[in-house]
């Protein structure tokens, strides 16, 4: 009864609106035309909000702009970028950043995939372990770095003690140029492997069972199943996880800065650390912005590459969209 009443009253209230609309068709058309634009306005505003700082950075990257040398401020077009070409420090930063990203993502993928394969059966123990393994991911990377800094302290660090038992009594971790990269990579792998693991575990558990059952019936060896069935079917998940991690690792800051500030020497001078120092310590806005734009270009190119590959795989699996 109540429902009937409300429907009735709704109908009665709707009637005058319909009448007004019939009376003013021009206004109704205008509203209908404007509606898509109004609906997309928030997205447009967000887009502008993102693009303003970006284009400001592009503009600054084309300036000679040091906060403490205001007299020298001026537009120099691409001079900051051109100077990078002959700057050994820049090429060192480029190679360290790429190497760091490559090594961490590879290590995390191998470990993450291995752990995901071990936990693929949804038993109670496996579910509990997969939740426990997520704990490092919930630690702030800067805190994780400080924790590792303590654990690798040669005087009292537990890890220094353990490697000492293996005969490496003078292992200097992040203090030695030959082991500094290894040390920060270990921290990165410790923090982010769970991220890869959880994505791949979700992927593994969602794979169709039929191909595996068919392979089992035919007595296909496990290695064949892994390389010819599991891995190809898991590839979209692997690419997605790698893309996320790659974009993050190439922009690494907190772990490296907390542990070594880019040292010893310039061993770990990755893009973000260099750019941070250029702005906050040296107040060289132009150079700092140029470094970040180069980093953006690398990130953009890498993500394009990955996405194209991912689309190809999807096309192969489902046919053209």
């Amino acid at each position: 009864m109540a429902l009937t009443d409300s429907v009735r009253s709704g109908m009665t209230t709707a009637t005058p609106h319909a009448q007004t609309a019939t009376r003013r068709p021009g206004r109704h058309r205008l509203t209908r035309r404007a509606l898509p634009y109004l609906l997309s306005l928030p997205a447009l505003l967000v887009c502008i909000g993102i693009l303003i700082p970006f284009f400001t950075a592009v503009y600054y990257s084309m300036m000679r702009f040091r906060l403490n040398l205001p007299m020298m401020k001026g537009f120099i077009w691409f001079d900051n970028y051109i100077s990078f070409l002959s700057d050994a420090a820049f090429w060192n930063t480029m190679s360290i950043s790429l190497l760091y990203a490559f090594v961490t993502v590879t290590g995390e993928l191998i470990l993450g995939l291995g752990i995901a394969l071990l936990l693929v059966r949804p038993t109670r123990i496996n579910n509990a372990v997969s939740i426990m393994l997520l704990l490092p991911l919930m630690t702030a990377p800067a805190l994780a770095a400080l924790m590792w800094k303590l654990m690798t302290n040669p005087n009292f660090g537990i890890l220094s003690y353990l490697v000492g038992l293996l005969g490496f009594t003078d292992f200097r971790w992040a203090s030695d140029p030959s082991t500094a990269l290894l040390t920060v990579v270990l921290v990165d792998v410790w923090v982010y492997t769970p991220f890869i693991m959880i994505l791949l575990l979700a992927g593994l558990r969602s794979l169709p069972k039929q191909p595996f059952e068919a392979a089992a019936l035919d007595g296909v060896p496990r290695s064949f199943v892994f390389f010819r069935i599991t891995l190809p079917m898991l590839m979209p998940y692997i690419i997605t996880a790698s893309l996320f991690r790659l974009l993050d690792s190439i922009q690494q800051f907190d772990i490296v800065y907390s542990m070594t500030q880019g040292g010893p020497g310039d061993t770990l001078m990755v893009f973000q650390v260099q750019s941070y120092l250029e702005f906050f310590q040296y107040t060289n806005v132009g150079r700092s912005a140029a470094l970040l734009i180069v980093l953006w270009a690398i990130t953009y190119a890498l993500s394009n590459l990955f996405i194209k590959h991912w689309l190809k795989l999807r096309e192969r699996a489902h046919g053209p969209a």
């Binding site: 040091r66 906060l67 403490n68 040398l69 205001p70 020298m72 800094k149 690798t152 302290n153 040669p154 005087n155 003078d170 200097r172 971790w173 992040a174 203090s175 030695d176 140029p177 542990m259 070594t260 500030q261 880019g262 040292g263 010893p264 020497g265 310039d266 120092l277 906050f280 310590q281 040296y282 107040t283 060289n284």
Partner: protein, 480 residues
Amino acid sequence: MYEKGRDLAAAFVRKQVSRRELIQRASQLGLGVAATSFFVNQAMTQAMAADFDWQKFKGTNLKLLLNKHPYADAMIADLDNFKSMTGMNVTYDIFPEDVYFDKVTAALSSGSSEYDAFMTGAYMTWTYGPAGWIEDLNEYIQDAGRTNPNYNWDDVLPGLRASTAWNGVPGGELGSADAKQWCIPWGYELNNISYNQKMFEKAGVKPPKNLPEMVETSAKLTKDLGGPYGIGVRGSRSWASIHPGFLSGYSNYGQRDFTVTDGKLKAAMNTKESKAYHELWVKMIQDSGPKNWSTYTWYQVGTDLGAGASAMIFDADILGYFMNGGDNKEKGNIGYAPFAANPSASAPTPNVWIWSLALSSYSNQKDAAWYFMQWASSVEHDLFGARKMDFVNPVRASVWKDEEFRGRIDKSYPGYLEQHDTSAPGAKIYFTAQPLFFDLTTQWAETLQKMVAKEVPVDEGLDQLAASVDKQLKDAGLGG
């Protein structure tokens, strides 16, 4: 009792009652140390207010940006006196040192008027001053209308006054006649030896007198103590690794960072003498420094001494001071000694770090903020901090003569006064003031790391450093 206590404190401040009499009569009145201190401090504030209109900006709200430091703690403990004397309200944001200067740079570079005054180091003013972010305080100090007649600016140690004044010309002499006073010295540290007396006794060594001796003593300590390492110095990839012990020793050998000819700068780190000094320094760290030296900031250097992990540090004297108290394992075991690195030098020449107060150019109430700054750097507040809090090292000569302060330090920190008094005449900033200070000094630290890691020989490393520095100076229009 309250009134009598106040009268007694007022008489003491007017110097009608001696310290001994004050203590006797306060105890007769049943006043404890804390209550007596409170009354004396209040009386000093009232005396300070007598000759100057401190109430001129009554009702004004000031906001400060502070670094978490014992100097800031001392100021906060005394802040109610300033508030009651001026009728102003003071609020503050306080940040740990790791992020503090980023916060200052962000606030100033954005032109924010949020903060009226802030803590800074003298080196930072070489960036803030030319950028137009801070005020030249000479205009305030010399203006009788704005500055308390009892402020006594000349009482501030001359080396510190000069070190915080620069004419903005790259390579310009600090404290020159045309220099702008970018900040007011508040508290400072000079670099000398702090050492573990028990460990020195055990190893049968005395505090070294010069760098060759320091290299030997550190090696012996490392060998004989069987655990702790011999010498703690900073090593992180930062300009802050160069300014304490390293530059103090470097300047004692008569070496400079740059030469200035016709207003143009040229790197001077690769002279023969400089190379010899670097050789010694690098050897000392390789033989007797901490294993993870390249990550060492002041914090690790200090805490290792306090925890008994190192036998000696060549760093800020106040670092040794703080490690001798609190709940440090080696509390009470730390001794202090002056140090002249060059065997043929007549006295130490420590480079200094000066915590100072600067006035933001974006403040909308600069005169009121100056009132706060002159109070915070006054004799009265300096005395309060030195006697009752851990405000060491005070920047005023009169405070260094204060018997109560000297007595307190002498009792709990044996050798501290001697190291300070011996070194203070030669204590100042030995860097050449120039706008690329942070870039080039960080690069110096980076080169030092490479030398210690044996990635590059000292000789070659310094030549490469000098070439790179000269190129950057030229690119910035500062070099020849």
